[in-house]
Amino acid sequence: MIEVVRAGLLSTVQDLGRSGYRHLSVASGGALDALALEVGNRLVGNRPDAAGVEMTFGPIALRFARATRIAITGTDFGATLAGKPVWSWWSLPVAAGDELVLQGAKRGMRAYLCVAGGVDVLPVLGSRSTDLGAGFGGLAGRALKDGDRLAVGVAARERASFAPDAPAFGVKAPVWCSFALVDEPPHRRGRHPEGLPWAVPVRVLRGPEYDHFTPDAQHAFWSDEWLVTPNSNRMGYRLSGTVLERGPGTDLLSHAVLPGTVQVPPNGQPIVLMSDAQTTGGYPRIGSVIRADLWKLAQVRLNGGVRFVETTRAAARAALAEEHAYLRQIDAAIAMHDERLAARTRAATAA
C-alpha cells in the first residue's frame, strides 16, 4: 500500500492506455511519456502493462507501508527516499515506512513512479489509466488527493535483482534529441543568448490538409519556435506563434484524430493532441508528431518552446525501431545484472 501524503498538482494512475474503444469515443489515455513508464516497470520487474503514477508538478510525498522496490523515471524531480537523495532511472529498495519526497522538476515536466507489482486499481475497459475527462479508470476516475491510499499488486519475486533488499541499480536514460544535433542550424548551437533552453525539436509528418495552408503558413510551421501555452494539458498542447492562414478551402467532414495529430482551429494557433484527446475532430490536420517523439513533447514545460522538424515515414519507423532497441538494451542490462547477483548469492551460500 502507498499512502499519498502530498499529491501535488496533478498526479494520476496511468499505464500504457486503453485500446480498441476509440470508435466509441473513448480516449486512449495512458502515460504521456510512455517510454519513461516502460523503463520504470522494467526496473522493478513488472509486466509492461503495469500501472504507475504520473506526476506533473511537485512537491509530492508518498509513504510505503511495506518493503518493496520502486523506480522514478521521466524528468528529475529532485527525489529523496527516507531523507537521502536518490537518482532517477534507478531501481531502489524501499523499507517499510519509508517516505519518498519529490520536490518538482527543474527541467522537463513529468516524472513516473513505478512500484514492484504495479499500482493495483481495477482495470476499466482493459486499462488502469485514469480518464480525467470521462471520470473513470485509475483511482475513482480522478487525480490523486492528499490522504489517498493506493493498493499495490503482487510483485514477481523470482528474480534476484528485484528483491526488496537487493542493491540499487540504474540504467541509462533515453537520449533526448540525438537526431536534432546533427542538422541543428549553426545559429542554434551553443548557448541560448538569454540563457533559455532552445525550443525542443520534434519530428513531424505532413498532415492530410498541409496543402490547404498558405506558403507563408507552411514556412512558419517549420521555422517558428512555438510557445507551449499554460492552457495545455493531457488532452492537448495548445501552441502560440504565427497565425497559420488557410487558403480558400472547403469545410471538412468529421474525421478521426490521434495523439500526435496537429490540428489548426480557425484562430490559426496549432494544437498538438495528446493521450487524452477526443477521438474525432473537424479542423484541418497540418501535421502529425511521430510516435517516437511524443514523449519528448510530453516533457516540454508550459511556457517552453517546441519546433517542428519535417521527417519521412521511413525515418519515423527507424526512430521507433531505435526506441525498441533501447528497451531491449535495458532488458539485456537488467538480465546481466540479475545473473551477476544470482552468482554472487550462490557463491556466498557455498562459502
Binding site: H23, L253, T280
Partner: protein, 219 residues
C-alpha cells in the same frame, strides 16, 4: 449502384484514412461501417474509427506494412456491397420539456410550432448513428426533421445533465455524461448512454437506428 470514389492516405506514422469526398450520404456511410467491420479483424489493426464519409485504422508501424493495408482497404471498399447492413434498432424513452428540457419552448418558438408538436416530430423521426465522438458514447445522429433545426444556444451551459437530449443545428443527440454544452435541451432519458462496466460500453454504436419514444411531456 456505382461505387463512390475513395482516397486512402496516411495520418501520421501509425494510421491510414479511407475517405470518400463530400457530400456525406447514407450510402457512403453504409460502406464505411461495412469496411470498418471487416478491418477490425485484420491482425495488424488496432483501432477502427468511423468518421463522416471516412474511416481511420491504426496499426503498429513496426509490424504492419502500410502499403499492404492501404491495398486491403481499397479492396474492401470496392467489395463491401455484400456486407449485411450494420446496426441495431434502439428505442430511447424521453421525458420532454419542463426541468428535463428547459429549451423546448425556445425550440418551439424558433420552429413556430407548439412544444407538443416539437415533441411529436422529434419522436416521429428515424435517426441513424453516423459515428461516435465528442465524449465516450456520444452518437452523432442524422435524420432530424428540417423544421426542428435550431441554432445552438448563444451562451453554452456550464453543466448539462447526463442523459439530456438536445438539438444543435441540424443534429440531435444525447449527452452521455454531465458536461458543458451548447445544444438546445428538449428532454432527458434515464438510459445510461455509456457504462464502462458494460460490453459494449456505449448504448449507441455507429450504424444503429434510433427512435425516441415519449415517456412524458412536461410544461
Amino acid at each position: 449502384m456505382s461505387i463512390s470514389p475513395v482516397r486512402i492516405y496516411p495520418l501520421g506514422d501509425e494510421a491510414l484514412v479511407c475517405e470518400s469526398p463530400p457530400p456525406a450520404t447514407l450510402d457512403v456511410q453504409h460502406r464505411v461501417w461495412a469496411v470498418a467491420a471487416l478491418a477490425r479483424d485484420w491482425p495488424p489493426v488496432r483501432e477502427v474509427v468511423p468518421g463522416m464519409n471516412n474511416l481511420t485504422i491504426t496499426f503498429d508501424p513496426l509490424s504492419a506494412d502500410p502499403d499492404a493495408l492501404a491495398a486491403q482497404l481499397a479492396h474492401a471498399w470496392q467489395h463491401a456491397d455484400d456486407a449485411p447492413i450494420a446496426g441495431r434498432d434502439v428505442d430511447v424513452p424521453v421525458e420532454y420539456g419542463g426541468a428535463f428540457g428547459p429549451d423546448l419552448e425556445a425550440v418551439a418558438a424558433h420552429a413556430k410550432l407548439t412544444p407538443q408538436q416539437v415533441v411529436e416530430r422529434h419522436a416521429a423521426g428515424r435517426y441513424i448513428v453516423f459515428f461516435d465522438g465528442f465524449q465516450p458514447g456520444f452518437a452523432y445522429m442524422g435524420g432530424l426533421d428540417a423544421s426542428l433545426h435550431t441554432p445552438r444556444r448563444k451562451e453554452p451551459r456550464v453543466a448539462v445533465p447526463a442523459g439530456s437530449v438536445g438539438i444543435g443545428g441540424e443534429q440531435t443527440g444525447i449527452y452521455p455524461a454531465a458536461s458543458p454544452g451548447g445544444w438546445q435541451l428538449i428532454g432527458r432519458t434515464q438510459l445510461a448512454l455509456f457504462d464502462p462496466s458494460r460490453q459494449p460500453p456505449a448504448l449507441l454504436l455507429p450504424g444503429d437506428r434510433v427512435r425516441f419514444t415519449i415517456a412524458g411531456v412536461h410544461a
